[in-house]
Subunit: 438 residues, 2 copies
């Protein structure tokens, strides 16, 4: 089935920065067949009138914990909530069924906001993979490896064998890509960080972990090893092309050079970092040094929503303010981070991230009829500074349309919500114990 989208402004996000003002894109489930301006000379089975909207590559969210939907709006302003109630509540109340129901709900939310690829790291990750497989989103899924008991493993580091199981089960799938996800620099031993890295090398999959995020993490590494967490990871031999370092808020100048020299990628999560008052990642310095950067929303308990529009505005405002320069990170570069930037972080730049012949048809059509989208001189500016998730009209993943007119085509949101709410019964009972912290 060939689909032709016409009469839209096409932001290709290709290397030449091509933009077609009255353009078209022709595609099927195997990939993009044509892109250009004006009418398309080839036949199509389905024709979509773009109604002067903006057609852009599907957005790529390179860091989240999507099954954490049940935690959203809980204790948002509470200090050190990770150790005070997120970890305990997770341990008590997270079940495979809850992870599955929450991941399905999250996939709905991601698709409705124009995110077509998500990197997730959590527990019972096979359930996340299953939910993403069913809902049609493209996903990178990693079982969390951590040195403490978790909801899916009584033994510390039980995530490591689970990770290998996950890889064996899903490797080779067209849309679902397994990876290895140790939790953080300071929550796994050096030996286990290395063992996890070796696993990622063995199966040729990405490796992702939280890095240089916490003040106490920074002090610990300074006191224990006399170096930064990034220098420590480098000396441990786990930086490199397959490594996606999440946050890197406190990366120093030498750290940035290490990231650049090793080809290590960064998942920039500005919304979650600043909502927690942790600081501002020096993303502009990283970009200048040639570090590959993508955008993560972090989990719905950290960043609340998982759309990239919220992150776009935050990146612009925080980077411009950090560097006292209005022209720093212009809108087009920010849209690039959310598309091709993310694709490069995932090592999937030949497959997704831009609208080019031969790439997968992961596409988002933004409507420009809503009140906030007028006038429109610069589509990149409109996306970064004016748009929000409600401007997403249609979404395709791998050529399959999943959202039309701002609504899911294959799922019913209320049904997903009811299922999740029912599955949350025990979770809600447990959460009541922590009411004083909310």
């Amino acid at each position: 089935m060939r689909t032709l989208i016409e009469k839209a402004t096409i932001l290709t996000m290709d290397n030449g920065g091509r933009l077609y003002l009255d353009g078209h894109v022709l595609f099927d489930e195997n990939g993009i067949l044509a892109v250009g301006s004006g009418a398309c000379s080839q036949d199509a089975d389905i024709r979509v009138d773009g109604r002067q909207g903006i057609l852009m590559p599907g957005m790529i969210n390179v860091h989240s914990h999507i099954p954490m939907i049940p935690f959203r709006s809980m204790g948002d302003d509470c200090p050190d909530r990770l150790r005070r109630f997120l970890f305990p509540l997770e341990l008590e109340a997270m079940t495979p069924d809850l992870v599955y129901a929450a991941a399905r709900y999250a996939a709905c939310e991601l698709l409705l906001s124009g995110v077509t690829s998500i990197l997730d790291m959590y527990y019972f990750e096979d359930q996340v993979a299953r939910a993403c497989e069913e809902t049609g989103i493209r996903a990178w899924v990693g079982e969390t490896v951590i040195g403490q008991e978790t909801c899916d493993s009584k033994t510390p580091y039980g995530g490591l064998p689970l990770c290998e199981e996950l890889i064996r089960k899903w490797q080779g799938h067209k849309r679902i890509h397994p990876l290895v996800a140790p939790h953080a620099t300071n929550t796994s031993s050096p030996q286990m960080l290395k063992a996890a890295y070796d696993l990622s090398v063995k199966y040729q999959v990405p490796y992702t972990l939280h890095v240089s995020e916490m003040d106490y993490e920074m002090s610990y590494f300074k006191e224990q090893y006399g170096k930064t967490p990034i220098a420590f990871l480098h000396d441990l031999g786990v930086l490199g092309e397959r490594t996606i370092a999440v946050h890197c808020i406190h990366a120093t100048g030498p750290d940035i050079r290490l990231l650049a020299d090793t080809g290590t990628k960064v998942a920039h999560c500005i919304g979650a970092n600043t909502k927690a008052g942790k600081g501002i990642c020096p993303a502009l310095d990283m970009r200048k040094a040639g570090v590959g950067i993508g955008i993560g929303s972090d989990g719905p308990s950290s960043g609340n929503t998982m759309d990239l529009f919220t992150q776009f505005k935050m990146i612009a405002s925080f980077q411009k303010t950090k560097y006292r320069d209005r022209s720093a990170f212009p809108a087009r570069e920010i849209v690039e981070l959310g598309t091709m930037g993310g694709a490069r972080v995932l090592g999937a730049e030949d497959e997704i991230g831009s609208i080019e012949i031969g790439k997968q048809a992961d596409l988002v059509l933004l409507e420009t009829k809503s009140v906030n989208m007028f006038p429109l001189y610069n589509p990149y500016s409109a996306i970064v500074y004016s748009a929000n998730a409600s401007n997403v009209d249609s979404v395709w993943v791998q050529g399959r349309q999943l959202v039309r007119g701002g609504r899911l085509m294959e799922m019913d949101l209320q049904t997903e919500r009811d299922r999740l709410w029912a599955e949350m019964k025990e979770f809600r009972n447990c959460a009541d114990k922590y009411q004083d912290m909310l």
Copy 2:
């Protein structure tokens, strides 16, 4: 006509912080008649099922230039654009008809996003007043007084007599309140700043101007007077209860004490300030010192959208990050800034800003069925961290319903847009000259 809204979570934003989980509000065009939990014992002509949404006071935006809609998404990342092309383009192409059409369009946008009160300062301000009067929004309107030729006055300071005309024409109107609006500390002479203040005293109206916003403004006052702009305004005798100082990004500790001691109010415009890389207003210090603060979006060319949801997230993230404290400015305090805080800034705290018997029925109903609003443990958190303008379901101003189901009831958006686009013809021709800066 009495309207009863039932089955909603009522955030009263009153001094006691009262919240009714399954509440009701009864009102008519003269004010709120009842508020409480459960069913209402009184009769009503119209009944509205709140569908477990959140009913909050109409949001109050205390700083904007709403007729600048034609500039939106133009040169967003361009340094010093104010003097390089905004001022020149304004001078060349702004007409009364364009201001009127743009203000009508802006009023639609504000209402659709739940803003029921707007403070505007611009040119041809009588046209703004007329547009706001017709569209049903509540507005404070100030003609800009500036020491240069403008689109509505060949003579510098021509705004001052226009301001007096505006006051005489609109004073006493129920919804439209005139005020005096000198442009900024450094764009009017001290004599004219004082003359404008005297005018505001004569007519007992508010006085607003941009203060401590620009680096070059700060240097100028230091070199010229050896003091900060705020100390300068204080010595000039123009700080006080009626003064609304906009931005105050670079306010010092002593400045903050001056603001607090004189009862001067602050319009905090975090989105516009940081998008321009100018810096972060020390709003938390101001709050601790007892300075009254409201939230401004600034004009659609500075902040792009005029909703407060975007500002809420930015205030949380920037203040928490500036002070490295996740618990700084919890969500409820931020919602307070956007409601009662704004009302106090405008000196209208007896009339608007909270849901209390006797106050005007300026109300916003947020739906909680959309994907981003679930689950919902804390309604303040949901408003600040999860919601966006598309969650606004219904809006009432002075008891009159203007938005229902996310749509305008008395206006047609496409008609307003077509009218504005037609009126922008000459503006667009002029804008072409500045293409290289966009």
